[in-house]
């Protein structure tokens, strides 16, 4: 009779013992597998957080004589790790004239004292796309007529509806922008759209007339660059926000930016924005640590308990071992039979654990992750970042994470489980196998 048959007969005939071992291994396999799947879910969550909680840095080049030139900008944009999502801005002040050279009237209502040079001026806001400008995204500005300004439609402006009304301007009209500091820089622009502001004036009572919302004119970056720096074919910019793919890389990328030659980086301000990410990361790392410790503890306990269990199991089989040895069946073959029994039961337990763990880990996993989401919500909220604080669950995409058992995890648990079973069986069998058959047989009774 070969040992595979003996192993199978043992499992079938000793149903109670087989069932106990199976239940025991099933619980352990499910536990470990659940820990593993939650761990990989936290890794997915981390990736999602990196994508959702934008990490970015800003460059303020207001104090550079030429701003950020186009060639420097291109060098920045070619740095590895940028997401390709960036916002450029420039600010200036200009006097507004109509085509006949007549000064257009600005609002002065509620304005504080205004420096002499700026008495008739308004603020020029230029960005790569006016739709993405914070005035429109957060400041309560709304386009009521016409279309947004992008880098493509050059020499165009958006004007406030009150400014338009006051000066009888409509879409398609041409106006002139005169730079306040250097009257020689003048450019013709077309009114491409009219906006309104719903929010109350910021810094009411202390803002000079040129900063009043009514007097703001949105234009493209090239126009602003001409007004600021007198550039003709190039577009230089004052401010840039550059988003990165991985917030972890912000430091590296910002260092690389400052290695670009020909720029007096000391006069620029570079600021790193990754607080949201760092906060979310912290709570996620907390969960990851817990899961990691859980895996270690569960594995260690499983190993110990299994070794104990196997010792008891084999102790009750000393007699049987002695009989086999007395019949000349080698120790190796006897041990192999015992290993094979455990192997078969472990394989069944591991198969069953897949279903059990899939059910459990999804329950526990989403609960744990929603906890992290809640924590993230709180920390994000503290940063006063309205955008991410609004609906963090959606933004972070954590609630949608399905805690799944990946093939690799499953394979690891299989390998791991079988090794633990084999080692603990071998360890439990060692003291018995060390004895000679006579002693084993005289130990029985």
């Amino acid at each position: 009779m070969d040992l595979l048959k003996r192993a199978c007969l043992y499992l079938v005939r000793k149903k109670g013992k087989t069932a106990t071992l199976l239940a025991f291994l099933l619980v352990m396999a499910t536990l470990v597998l659940t820990c593993f799947s939650i761990q990989s879910a936290t890794i997915t969550a981390n990736t999602n957080i990196k994508k959702a909680l934008l990490g970015y840095f800003t460059i303020n080049a207001k104090h550079l004589d030429t701003g950020i030139t186009e060639s420097v900008l291109n060098q920045i944009l070619s740095i590895d790790g940028l997401s390709g999502n960036y916002i450029l801005r420039s600010y200036s002040y200009a006097n507004y004239y109509d085509t006949d050279g007549k000064l257009l009237e600005i609002s002065t209502e509620g304005a504080a004292q205004t420096p002499a040079e700026y008495e008739n001026a308004g603020k020029i806001v230029a960005s790569s796309n006016s739709e993405n400008d914070s005035y429109f995204t957060e400041g309560g500005f709304k386009l009521t007529e016409g279309k947004a300004i992008t880098s493509e439609n050059g020499n165009a402006v958006l004007i406030h509806e009150k400014f338009a009304e006051r000066n009888g301007l409509t879409i398609g009209d041409t106006i002139q922008l005169f730079d306040v500091t250097d009257k020689n820089r003048v450019t013709d622009v077309t009114v491409a759209g009219i906006f309104t502001s719903t929010k109350e004036q910021d810094a009411i009572g202390i803002a000079p007339s040129c900063d009043l919302y009514d007097n703001i004119v949105f234009t493209d970056l090239a126009t602003a660059s001409y007004l600021l720096y007198g550039t003709e074919d190039e577009t230089n910019i004052q401010f840039g926000d550059f988003h990165v793919n991985d917030p972890e890389e912000l430091d590296r990328i910002m260092e690389q930016v400052q290695e670009i030659n020909g720029v007096d980086w000391n006069s620029c301000t570079l600021t790193c924005y990754d607080k949201d990410y760092q906060n979310a990361k912290k709570s996620l790392e907390g969960l990851q640590n817990i899961v990691f410790i859980a895996i270690a503890v569960v594995s260690a306990i499983c190993f110990l308990v299994l070794a104990l269990f196997m010792t008891l199991r084999l102790r009750s089989r000393i007699h049987e071992t002695g009989i086999y040895l007395a019949m000349g069946i080698s120790k190796g073959a006897v041990l192999l039979q015992y290993l094979l029994e455990v192997f078969i039961v472990a394989a069944i337990a591991l198969l069953l654990s897949y279903g059990a763990s899939a059910a459990i880990s999804n329950q526990i996993g989403s609960r744990l992750l929603s906890q992290v989401t809640a924590e993230t919500y709180e920390t994000v909220d503290l940063t006063q970042n309205a955008e991410t604080a609004k609906q963090p669950t959606e933004d972070l995409g954590l609630s949608e994470i399905i805690v799944e058992i990946s093939a690799t995890d499953y394979a690891i648990v299989w390998a791991f489980g079988l090794v633990i079973c084999m080692v603990s069986t071998a360890l439990a069998a060692y003291p018995i196998m060390k004895m000679n058959p006579k002693n084993i047989l005289s130990q029985m009774s």
Partner: protein, 247 residues
């Protein structure tokens, strides 16, 4: 001492197991066995008598390679059994019938017999008196005597040349015991095996070709027990065993 096959048919004697100055002591205790010299032949049935605790089971387990002697050597067909390995000796040369049956409790009688043999188990089990139905039961659901018969069948089925039986009829009624004794004798005489029986029963000892007495760790050879069976009527010959075989 090696004999050729042709010679074995003419001459009955052929030493299959030989013990030379075998001594044994359980861990740092007094010697249970002292310098035992013994030669056992194929085709014969031996009975070993001795008071309880005198070391009969110990001697049997040494011959069967369950343990190594503290002193001396044991030879099987002229070769030291330790050289070839005790496990191989147990597997190929000897079959045990234990005092306490030692059956595998999750196997049926048939499967227990099949452990050591490739022969169909049923005829052998029937020969020791188990029915077909009994042969398919779990061994724990058999009576003590029936379990003993399964153990005997398991030994008979193996192709080992030496059968070592420790009180094989201890749990059997007289008739069955006599039947088993006959089977073991047949085994020795017809299948040319060497059968060694440890027993307290004079009836069984009477069936043996040779009777040995173990006393105070030493082996004494007795004549065949008096055919009349009256105890005390046999002559003790105090001789070293190897001298006894020079006849």
């Amino acid at each position: 001492m090696m004999h050729s096959k042709t010679k074995r048919n003419e001459v009955v004697s052929m030493n299959i197991i030989e013990l030379k100055n075998v001594g044994y002591a359980y861990e740092n205790k007094r010697k249970v066995l002292k310098a035992i010299n013994l030669s056992l032949e194929e085709g014969k049935m031996y009975a070993i008598l001795g008071s309880s605790g005198c070391g009969k089971t110990t001697l049997l387990s040494l011959m069967g390679g369950l343990d190594s002697p503290s002193d001396g050597q044991i030879f099987y067909e002229g070769k030291n059994i330790e050289k070839a390995g005790l496990s191989a000796h147990r597997k190929n040369n000897v079959a045990f019938i234990f005092q306490s049956y030692n059956l595998i409790d999750y196997l049926t009688p048939k499967e227990n017999v099949a452990l050591t043999s490739k022969l169909p188990p049923q005829p052998i089990l029937e020969r020791v008196g188990l029915t077909e139905e009994e042969s398919r039961r779990n061994v724990l659901k058999l009576s003590g005597g029936q379990q003993q018969r399964v153990a005997i069948a398991r030994a008979l089925a193996s192709d080992a040349k030496v059968i070592l039986a420790d009180e094989p009829t201890g749990n059997l009624d007289e008739d069955t015991a006599a039947e088993i004794a006959n089977i073991l004798k047949e085994c020795a005489h017809q299948m040319n095996k060497c059968v060694v029986i440890v027993t307290h029963s004079n009836e069984l000892a009477k069936q043996a070709d040779e009777v040995l007495r173990l006393h105070r760790g030493e082996m004494k050879m007795l004549d065949r027990l008096n055919q009349s069976g009256r105890s005390g009527c046999y002559t003790e010959i105090v001789l070293q065993t190897y001298k006894a075989f020079n006849r």
